[in-house]
């Protein structure tokens, strides 16, 4: 299959502002969907596929999110699908839509992710579940999500000489990036001292190193390149790749919510870690290399994780991300701006919407519409995130 025929067009994107609004995820999702349709100038009745990102904390309607959004927008007979892949949910939903378009089974797809999050710590459902690692890690170890993030952060310190001030600097950068983003929840400058003065949650990470959970929604209208052209969109932002690979056994990097890794004794260690393979698959599918990337949106569940991702995406060598950060290379105006949207630091996490929000931001960036946070001349952008249980995603966009 030739490169061109593997493209689909991003005809429109839309979001509901992130925050804690106390409304139903359906309201957020429909708001974002209507915004994306308006952005694309595509009528709802033209949509022939709706893909929902599932939310598992909002009753039956959340399990069948695709159908819930389709009904709320008004049953129009479209095909429907609902995807779940933890934090990679939005990218999986996008890929489901992309595949149907590339297969000639659909012309206009609407992809929606939205969440209403509970207050406080993310903790497992009630009940005793002695065969569920997500329950056991709390019961046997008291291992919270931030504790996993902290393991990765500490490795950077001991192996590469990272400091807590470096981690804080990621937050400072992202807070500044998000200042003018109308969809961001937190729009306020933060100093290194602010971060270091906040409470330590799991050493070496402070409260301000760790992202919050938010309500939010994002939507993307994907179309065939043909439909976009007929619709008057001559040079749309294009999806060049969506990576949804799983790990290769043995998966040797400690992964939330597991209590252990696979053993490498018999089979040896794979050439790439799971997170490295996520980006690699996207580059291979797109025929685009890391050296071509102008801007990246990565999953900064913690500040230190942003540094991991920069290396996992091969935007610099292993152990070099702190140098990039200190040189201002990852700031807007630098060599390779990372999280110009402000990232999770400014948004907070809204699981099924997050990977789609990254695509929204890159679309605005590649169109030159990211007012107040524009990466000048950006033509290629990449996203990355990782979910639980071997899920992760990377979306490569180009104009």
């Amino acid at each position: 299959m030739s490169g061109a025929s593997k493209d689909v067009a991003v005809a429109g994107v839309g979001m509901h502002p992130w925050g804690k609004w106390g409304k139903s995820f359906v309201t957020y999702g429909v708001h974002a969907a209507r915004a994306a349709l308006a952005d694309a100038d595509v009528p709802w009745t033209d949509v022939d596929l709706v893909v929902g990102g599932e939310t598992v904390r909002n009753g039956y309607g959340g399990y069948v999110a695709g159908a819930t959004f389709a009904q709320a927008l008004g049953w129009n007979g479209a095909r429907v699908a609902t995807s779940y892949a933890a934090c990679a949910t939005g990218a999986q939903a996008l890929d489901t839509a992309r595949a149907r378009i590339l297969a000639g089974m659909c012309e206009v797809a609407l992809v929606v992710g939205a969440d209403t999050t509970p207050k406080g710590f993310l903790a497992p459902n009630a009940g005793e579940r002695w065969d569920d690692p997500d329950w056991l890690r709390f019961r046997l170890l008291g291992m919270t999500n931030p504790a996993y993030f902290a393991l990765y952060a500490r490795r950077r310190m001991d192996l590469y000489g990272a400091t807590q001030a470096d981690f804080a600097q990621v937050k400072v950068k992202n807070a500044r990036h998000g200042l003018h983003n109308p969809y961001a929840r937190y729009r306020k400058e933060v100093s290194v001292d602010d971060v270091l003065a906040s409470a330590v949650v799991s050493d070496p990470l402070h409260l301000l190193d760790i992202c919050a959970t938010s309500d939010g929604a994002a939507a993307v209208v994907l179309t065939s390149v043909d439909y976009a052209r007929r619709h008057g969109i001559g040079s749309p932002v294009r999806v060049k790749a969506v990576s949804t690979v799983t790990p290769t056994f043995p998966h040797t990097v400690m992964d939330m919510p597991n209590l252990s890794t696979d053993s490498s004794a018999v089979t040896g260690v794979p050439e790439r870690t799971f997170k490295e393979s996520i980006g690699r698959a996207a580059y291979e599918e797109a025929g685009i290399g890391p050296e071509d990337v102008d801007v990246a949106e990565v999953y900064d569940l913690s500040t230190a994780l942003e540094l991991d991702w920069i290396e996992d995406l091969a935007l610099c060598g292993r152990g070099e991300a702190e140098a990039l950060l200190r040189a201002g290379d990852t700031t807007i105006g630098g060599r390779i701006p990372v999280n110009p949207s402000g990232g999770l630091a400014c948004f907070g996490e809204a699981v099924p919407a997050q990977a789609l929000a990254q695509v929204c931001e890159l679309t605005w960036q590649l169109r030159g519409q990211a007012e107040g946070r524009q990466v000048e001349g950006a033509r290629v952008g990449i996203t990355a995130n990782q979910g639980l249980f071997g899920h992760g995603s990377s979306v490569l966009l180009a104009v």
Binding site: R139, L151, S260
Partner: protein, 147 residues
């Protein structure tokens, strides 16, 4: 009565060890115990034998829990006392998480350092002490202090 917080995951004698399983077809070791199907994709094995894992390994990383984790975590003390956590790589080629032995904190740890498995009390309920495996830093000779 003292009993493990979870059945069959570790021994509790003088030299306690984690209990995993080994695929009888490809010899890959799993912890927690695999059953049913071997997770080595090149192996179709379905039988496993119990195996005790090495008691010493090397610290892969470490952290602590400065706030009380939510349930189903059962706090050992009231008020809550923070504890440290470590991921330790064993000679069997896998990394296993555990709390860090009582009396040790992140200041006592370093990536690459040796650690040894001990069994301590995780919490106490109406039937007695519930024990768990923990990682104890192996302090170099001359640095040993009485814990």
């Amino acid at each position: 009565m003292t009993a493990p917080a979870i059945e069959g995951w570790f021994t509790t004698g003088a030299d306690p060890a984690l209990l995993g399983t080994r695929c009888t077809t490809c010899t890959t070791v799993f912890f927690p115990k695999a059953d049913g199907f071997c997770r080595n994709p090149a192996c179709s094995g379905e039988t496993f034998e119990e195996v005790a894992l090495s008691r010493r390994g090397v610290v892969w990383s470490y952290t602590d829990a400065q706030y009380q984790p939510p349930p189903p975590y059962v706090p050992a003390t009231d008020p809550y006392e923070p504890f440290a956590l470590a991921a330790v790589e064993l000679p069997e080629g896998l990394v296993v998480l555990g709390q860090v032995a009582q009396g040790y904190g992140v200041a006592d740890l370093r990536v690459g350092q040796e650690a040894e498995l001990v069994v301590e009390t995780l919490y106490t309920d109406e039937t007695g002490d519930r024990t768990i495996w923990r990682w104890k830093p192996v302090v170099e000779l001359g640095e040993e202090t009485d814990q």
